[in-house]
Structure formats: C-alpha cells, structure tokens
C-alpha cells in the first residue's frame, strides 16, 4: 500500500530523514515511535503530501502524494498534533467535509461520538482541547480512508479517553485500512499496534512486528542478579528490576512492554538488533 524508498528530507541544512525505506500494508496498525524531533511528524507529512521528498519517493499504490490530487487526498487523512476548528457546531462542520470522502460513514461517526461522549450542541471552538481532538479522531475514522495517519493522537486526552481511543481504533481497523500512529507516549499504544517502528536521527532504528517481538524478547520483573546481568536493558524499581531479556524459547511468548522496548532500542540498539538477526 504505502511504499517509501530511500526517503531523504532536510529542513535547510538539518537532515531529518536520511534514506528511509519502509513499507506499510493494509489491515495493520503501525506504531511510529521516537524522541521529539527525530522525524516522525516529518515522515507522516511526507506520506500525506504536505512535504516533498528531496530524494527518494513515497507512493500510495500508484499515487504520488506530492501531486496532492483529489484521488490521493480522498484516501488519506492526517490527524495532526495541532489543528484548527471554525466556530460551528460539529454537525455542520462534518456535513460540509464528509462530502469530500466517498466512503464516509455517518453511522460510524455517530457511534464514535457517543462513545467519546462529544457534545453536539457546543461549538467546536468552545470545546476543550481533548473534546476537539476526540471530535477530529471520530471524523478521521469515519472517513474510512485507506491510509489514516495520526500524529501524537493521545496528547491532550485524559486517562479514560486514552483507553477509549485504543478501543475505538482497534474496532475501526479493517483489511482495507492502514493506520499509522506516531507518538512518543509509547504506553498509549500498548495492546493496539501490530508493528513497532522506531526512528532516531532520521534512520530506522528498529522495525519489527509485535508477534516477533513477543517471541524474541522477554519483558519481566526480577530480583535475580543473574537475569539482570543477562538483560539487554534493565531498570531498577521497588517491585524489582524491570528487564528486557532475549528469549531463547520461541514457544514462550511474552507480552511486550513498549516503553521498556523503546528504551532498550534507543539505549542498547546494537544488542537488540543482534537478537533479531539471530
């Protein structure tokens, strides 16, 4: 579906994306993780056609995002970190925008609004930031676009809304849709994503499906000094040492702790990479 080949992008002289090659397929939710300023948003905007690659290419099927043709834009929706709403009621806002998306589902939109508890009688500009974000996410999901890009979607959401978000996103996925979520709040994507991609300094540091991570790595709490010494990454806590260990038994799958995985990848990238090469 989305093919990225040798993508280079820089702001003036500062290289942000340095020869990225990736592929995103429909039917999956991808988590794009990385520190602030590592190029996650830049990658999403290159995919949406808001920024143009300086070298390499991005394609959605046969469509080139750079041209921003309606046929492409009808298939892509970006939920940006910051957004703007005019001072209108949500129903009016949606009525004038939904007509641009051929697969827009009013039923799904109604359901999502109810689930997110968005008030219908309040102007969008009078809503809280969290409510506005949930309104935009509801609209984004209802467009039923093939490629849904979300940049830090859980920023500004309270704890309950974050779990609602995970539930709604998981329920909205279909075989024709590809959802890419960029975030630095890795905990928010737990139990949601199918593949983890970590970007650092414009390069792919780690890119693995969740089931592979579950097979190859173990995430556990332990007081055992022997286990701690074997860990790829260890963190002390009152409950014991939080460890990321290589798993030698493919049958013994462990539930990935994304935050620990992320820290292990960023701080012990080479050791983690060796585990996945084996």
């Amino acid at each position: 579906m989305v093919t990225i080949r040798d993508l280079h992008f820089s702001y003036r002289r500062k290289a942000v994306l340095d020869g990225l090659s990736l592929e995103f397929r429909p039917g999956y939710i991808y988590g794009l993780l990385g520190k602030n300023g590592t190029g996650k948003s830049t990658l999403l905007r290159n995919m949406a056609g808001l920024l143009f690659p300086q070298r390499g290419q991005v394609r959605l099927g046969d469509l080139n995002p750079v041209l921003r043709q309606p046929a492409f834009l009808e298939q892509v929706f970006l939920v940006p970190e910051e957004f703007h709403f005019p001072p209108v009621l949500i129903d009016e806002w949606v009525r004038h925008r939904a007509v641009f998306y051929p697969k827009f589902s009013y039923t799904l939109f109604e359901q999502t609004l109810v689930e997110f508890q968005i008030p219908r009688d309040v102007r969008l500009t009078d809503m809280s930031h969290g409510q506005q974000k949930k309104a935009l996410i509801s609209f984004a999901l209802s467009t039923n676009v093939a490629l849904l890009l979300m940049d830090e979607p859980t920023n500004g959401l309270d704890i309950l809304s974050k779990s609602q978000f995970r539930k709604i996103i998981a329920g909205a996925l279909s075989d024709e849709k590809c959802i890419i979520i960029s975030t630095h709040q890795v905990k928010d994507l737990e139990n949601l994503i199918d593949r983890v991609t970590v970007i650092d300094n414009g390069k792919i540091l780690f890119d693995q499906p969740i089931n592979n991570i579950s097979r190859k790595l173990q995430f556990k709490l332990s007081f055992d000094p022997d286990e701690t010494s074997r860990a790829l990454y260890a963190e002390t806590s009152l409950k014991g040492n939080a460890l990321v260990l290589p798993s030698y038994d493919d049958e013994d799958e462990s539930h990935p702790d994304l935050e620990m995985l992320y820290k292990a990848v960023v701080l012990q990238g080479d050791r983690v990479a060796r585990v996945f090469r084996n």
């Binding site: 808001l50 921003r68 043709q69 309606p70 834009l73 009808e74 892509v76 998306y101």
Partner: protein, 279 residues
C-alpha cells in the same frame, strides 16, 4: 471525477468556505456599510454640496475597494500562513485549481458584487440626503433652490465617469484587480506578514523597473530622444522633430496585457505556488 477540475467538487468547496466564514462575512457587511455611512455623514457635515458630487463618490468607492479588497485578497488564503489551518486546507480532497477558483470566486466575484451593492445602498440615499440638507440650508439663507445641482450618482460602469475615459472597463478597476491578485499571490507565497511583504515586493518591483529603464534602456536611446508612451520615442530639437513608434499592434497588445493580463498572470502564478506549498 477529474483530478484537475470537477464542478460538483468546486461547489462543495464553495459551500464549505461559506460555512466556515459565514459569521465573519455577515459581520463584515454592516461594518463596511457603517464605515461608508460615517464617511458620507462626515462629508455632509463638512460640506453638504461636496457630499453628493460624483467625484467624491468615485474616490470613496475606489479607496474602499482598494483598501478592503486588498485586505480581503490577503485574507482569503491566509490559512496557509497558519500551520494548523494550512494542513487541513491542503489535505482537503479537492484540486489546487478548485481551491484557487473557490478563493477567487469569493475574493474577486462575490466581494466585488457585495461591495458595489453596499456602496450604492449607502451612497444613493446619502447623496439625496446631502442634497436635501443642502437645499434646506439654501432656503434658510433665502437663496434660490435652483442653484443647487442635481444629485449625480457616480456610475462605475459608465465610461464618461471613469477616471480614464478611453478605457472600458475603467482602468482603476483593472489596477485594483491586479493589486488584489498580487496581494493574494503574496498571501500564498509568504507565511508571515504576508500583506507587508507583498507590498514591499510590489515597491521593489517598481523601483527595479525604474532603475532598469533609467540605467539600461535610456542610455541606449540616442541623445535628445525620450520615451513618449509605452512603445513610442520622440525627438524634439530646435532643428527637427522626429517620432518613432513600434507597430500599432505592439502598443495595443502591450496595453491589453497590462490592463487584463496582470491579474491573470498573478492568478496563474498563485496556482503554481499553491501546488508547491509545503507545510
């Protein structure tokens, strides 16, 4: 549907623009009318005879058109200077041509019609009111009412009232369209302080043109020869008078280009710039 232009999609875009900006426009209409009313009222107080003179109406019409139309031209694509809004604008599933034509529909066509209607809605009664006040004043001082001139409403489309009678539509209207198109282009081109940067660019272009003429073109012309018009040169010396003119069609098309071509050139450039816009 076509990826370049679809009338249905364009209509949806117009509906969307109206829905998003309706409140602003509905508020702006009484504000513009109020400003005109205050201005005509002020002139009537100062000099009631001058208040219904066509020249004052012409000046009022064009000053308002240039100023408000210029500001509106700068505003129509101002979303592009704000990251939050520009992402939504650029990612809306419509072509760049449709987005540009929607902007032009509001800023050029609808604005012109609305502004002109507003002007006459205020101008006609105010001109008659000014004349009534003028007559009442004449009567109070025992002078002949017949001395008062009739109300003569300025006609935007009448050649005789135009500032340059040889041209139709009035030259000022075409200059306005060029300036508004330039400001509109500037609002797409520049991300911050667009209107100031557009005006600075326009001033820069004028200065460069003058420098080009004075430093490059004029030194090439033999001594005593002067430019007289866009495509003619003349020599007035005690011994002889000479006149050189490029073929008539060159002059004709140069004027046509300056008069009608500039807005088109700026709009086409704005379309290219819209295609290149990155956020």
């Amino acid at each position: 549907m076509s990826n370049t232009f679809s009338f249905n999609r364009w209509l949806r875009l117009v509906g969307l623009h109206w829905s998003d900006h309706r409140r602003l426009y509905v508020l702006a209409i009484p504000v513009i009318a109020g400003l005109m009313l205050v201005w005509f009222g002020f002139v009537t107080m100062m000099n009631d005879q001058w208040a219904f003179h066509p020249d004052l109406q012409l000046v009022t019409y064009y000053v308002g058109l240039f100023f408000i139309g210029g500001l509106y031209g700068n505003m129509i694509f101002s979303a592009l200077s704000r990251k939050r809004e520009s992402i939504q604008f650029l990612l809306l599933p419509a072509s760049h041509l449709e987005k540009l034509l929607c902007g032009l529909f509001f800023s050029v066509v609808l604005f012109f019609i609305t502004y002109t209607l507003l002007f006459y809605v205020v101008d006609i009664p105010m001109a008659h009111l000014a004349r009534s006040i003028h007559i009442a004043r004449l009567e109070r001082f025992g002078r002949m009412v017949g001395q008062s001139p009739e109300v003569n409403i300025f006609n935007l489309f009448a050649v005789k009232d135009g500032p340059a009678p040889d041209f139709f539509p009035p030259l000022l209207l075409m200059i306005y369209l060029s300036i508004q198109a330039f400001v509109l282009l500037g609002s797409i081109y520049f991300t911050r302080y667009a209107i100031l940067k557009s005006l600075l660019s326009a001033i820069g272009i004028v200065i460069l043109s003058v420098l080009f003429l004075s430093k490059v073109i004029f030194p090439l012309v033999p001594d005593g020869w002067r430019m007289s018009g866009l495509t003619s040169w003349s020599l007035f010396s005690p011994s002889e008078i000479k006149f050189v003119r490029l073929p008539l069609w060159v002059g004709h098309w140069s004027y046509q280009l300056l008069q009608y071509g500039l807005p088109l050139i700026f709009w086409v450039t704005a379309w290219f710039r819209l295609k290149e816009k990155e956020v």
